[in-house]
């Protein structure tokens, strides 16, 4: 069994004392920052990214993955305890989780979230282990035409799955693609959109954009609606769910995991769409549907499992194709490049310890989440209680130092301020920043593959439809575009996203 040998290799890597420690540290830091209201996984990872620069590649990625699911779980904790979802994927958790907390079942809600996440994490880690290698094998046969078509499909999928206005989703993607082109063109050496600034010659660093839009922009937005938070719970008791609770959550957890795993692979979907759809599905099929929104334990179990499963499986396209399906994965790709690893199908064969070590560490990280978070709940509650007017100056400090330390460049700090303004303007105009980030990362890749494909075909654009895999992907993209414009699917799509009111 090759898969067992691979998992064994991964286990050896992930279980080394140093990597275990980095995994634990990542999960701990991720949760600690993720529980802070207003800080989602993207901002958390961007802020902590510089801390991993000095580590060896395997340890750095293990720690970043730990930060990711730690931040995700932290966001759910905040959603349950104070009804303030730190990021969009825990919006639906807040619906029933907060009601449970108000009824004195905060402990049970938190435990449900942790157990659901752990089960989902375990199953989806196995999925990655089984499906990543064959996918990477297929990806090795891809030429530039296939990659270009795949990215088109990815962008279309992210439009279909985007939250809110379709036109704005397209607009923000194109805007992101353009921003991604800033810098020196690799083929001709022409400086594009650099305004003769040497600092822009290498392009805009992704972390600068992420911290500006998701960190600084978010702060201004929060300050605009500054208000006191009501923290119901000073002490959380009654953590362990009963046998009856277990019986009630197991089916929602499994349904959530299945749905989340599928949606996580799709570009633009990731954890957020997974949790929204899982909640909507559960509301339809659950025998307890009448109590949804009033503190139903199923309403916590399903979206929490789904968002964790989605978070895990979104690693599949990142690890096998080198293509990010959401801004978090884009940051992971950025981290790999900083570590000198070119993401893509070759990673699995060239760096098997890194690949399998990371996968096994995901499972270990989920285990840490379970055993770490419930005993430490008192600490998380205290972190949530830090008032925002004392919290956000600290976030400013970490963003500023983090961005400065990328390249020791004050220019990057100023650019971050500019993207902070952009982030605030986007929020004011209801323009979702996530598609922008996706476009930003994919822009240079798409152009490169397009040019290479057309160079190889001597300018004949039919290459995209005569190569079968490429043709299938473009057809799927076309089908997606037609579907999203059809009134029936539009209604369904609106339905899936209206759970938050």
């Amino acid at each position: 069994m090759e898969i067992l040998a691979n998992l064994w290799l991964g286990l050896e890597t992930a279980m080394s004392l140093a990597n275990l420690a980095y995994c634990l540290l990542g999960v701990f830091l991720g949760t600690a920052i993720g529980v802070l209201p207003g800080l989602g996984p993207v901002a958390t990872i961007a802020m902590l990214l510089p801390a991993t620069f000095g580590l060896p590649p395997v340890a750095a990625l293990i720690m970043l993955a730990g930060i990711y699911y730690g931040a995700q779980y932290g966001g759910s904790t905040t959603a349950i305890l104070v009804n303030l979802p730190g990021e969009s994927s825990s919006v639906v958790t807040a619906l029933d989780g907060y009601q449970m907390a108000r009824q004195g079942h905060a402990g049970k809600a938190l435990a449900t979230a942790a157990i659901g996440s752990f089960i989902a994490g375990t199953l989806s880690t196995l999925l990655i282990a089984f499906f990543a290698p064959p996918l990477a094998d297929v990806a090795l046969t891809f030429g530039p035409a296939e990659y270009f078509s795949l990215m088109v499909l990815g962008l279309v999928a992210s439009i279909v799955l985007a939250h809110g206005s379709l036109l704005h989703a397209v607009g923000m993607i194109v805007f992101g693609l353009l921003l991604g082109l800033v810098g020196t063109d690799v083929n001709s050496g022409t400086a594009r959109y650099t305004f003769d600034l040497p600092e822009l010659a290498d392009g805009i660093n992704f972390v600068v954009v992420a911290m500006g839009v998701f960190g600084i922009g978010e702060i201004v937005r929060n300050l605009e609606h500054e208000m006191t938070r009501e923290v119901m719970i000073k002490r959380v008791t009654g953590l362990l769910p009963t046998r009856e609770d277990f019986r009630r959550i197991i089916a929602p957890v499994l349904r959530g995991t299945a749905l989340g795993s599928v949606l996580g692979i799709l570009p633009g979907g990731g954890a957020m769409l997974a949790s929204f759809s899982a909640y909507a599905l559960e509301k339809k099929v659950s025998p307890n549907a009448a109590n949804f929104g009033k503190g139903a334990i199923e309403g916590v179990a399903a979206p929490e499992s789904a968002n964790n499963a989605g978070a895990q499986t979104s690693f599949i396209p990142m690890l096998t194709l080198g293509i990010p399906s959401n801004p978090v994965m884009a940051l992971m790709i950025g981290a790999m490049i900083i570590q000198g690893i070119q993401p893509g199908p070759a990673v699995m064969t060239e760096q098997p310890t890194l690949f399998w070590g990371l996968i096994v560490s995901m499972w270990i990280g989920n285990f840490f989440l379970l055993v770490l978070n419930l005993p430490l709940i008192g600490l998380w509650v205290r972190m949530i209680l830090v008032p925002y007017h004392l919290l956000y100056p600290a976030i400013l400090v970490f963003c500023a130092i983090g961005v400065f330390s990328l390249n020791n460049s004050t220019f990057d700090v100023h650019l971050m301020a500019l993207f902070g303004l952009a982030g605030y303007v986007f929020a004011k105009l209801d323009c979702e920043p996530a598609p922008l980030m996706l476009g930003f990362i994919l822009g240079p890749m798409m152009e490169e593959y397009l040019r290479r494909a057309l160079l190889l075909s001597k300018g004949d654009p039919s290459v995209f439809v005569t190569r079968p895999i490429s043709a299938v992907m473009l057809l799927l993209a076309l089908a997606g575009l037609i579907a999203v414009l059809s009134p029936a699917l539009r209604r369904k799509r609106d339905e899936a996203f209206t759970e938050d009111d």
């Binding site: 704005h168 194109v174 063109d185 500023a400 130092i401 100023h414 301020a417 004011k428």
Partner: protein, 152 residues
């Protein structure tokens, strides 16, 4: 009620249009090349034109469908928070961390309605000590504690 019935769509349309046209205009000298050997201007020009088109649709659409208003632009908060970050950028090398960080914290904190000087100063001191210990001493980020102004 003005003729613009959907202000958010209108202004985001204007934003796309402006950036799209600027992208096309700036790319005019980059060289289009041919489809077989694309020049550096090809992709940006196409994308810029597309963005401008999307902007136009969004802006025109704003005259026909209703939407909520944009609301107050938090000018003071924007100016203080972004100003604090900009100032940090200017000060970090010249004055060093021990000046740049407290400036960032105190000016940034002033944007809050709950700003009080004493706690902010305390917070600034705490964060500065923490950052120096963790980032400069611990992680070895090359940031001067005292900048060139102080001969650092």
């Amino acid at each position: 009620m003005s003729v613009i019935r959907h202000p958010k769509d209108f202004w985001s349309g204007v934003m796309y249009l402006a950036f799209g046209l600027a992208a096309v205009w700036l790319a005019r000298d980059y060289g289009m090349g041919s489809a077989g050997r694309m020049g550096p201007g090809y992709f940006p020009t196409v994308l810029g034109a597309l963005l401008a088109l999307i902007g136009l649709i969004s802006a025109v659409r704003a005259f026909f469908g209703d939407g909520e208003g944009i609301g107050r632009f938090a000018l003071g908060e924007v100016a203080l928070v972004l100003g604090a970050v900009l100032l940090f950028g200017f000060l970090v090398r010249s004055a060093g961390l021990v000046v740049a960080l407290p400036a960032l914290v105190v000016i940034g904190a002033f944007a809050s309605k709950r700003f009080r000087l004493a706690p902010s100063l305390l917070l600034a001191a705490g964060l500065t000590v923490f950052s120096v210990l963790v980032f400069v001493k611990g992680l070895g980020v090359p940031m001067p504690m005292l900048g060139t102004w102080f001969g650092g």
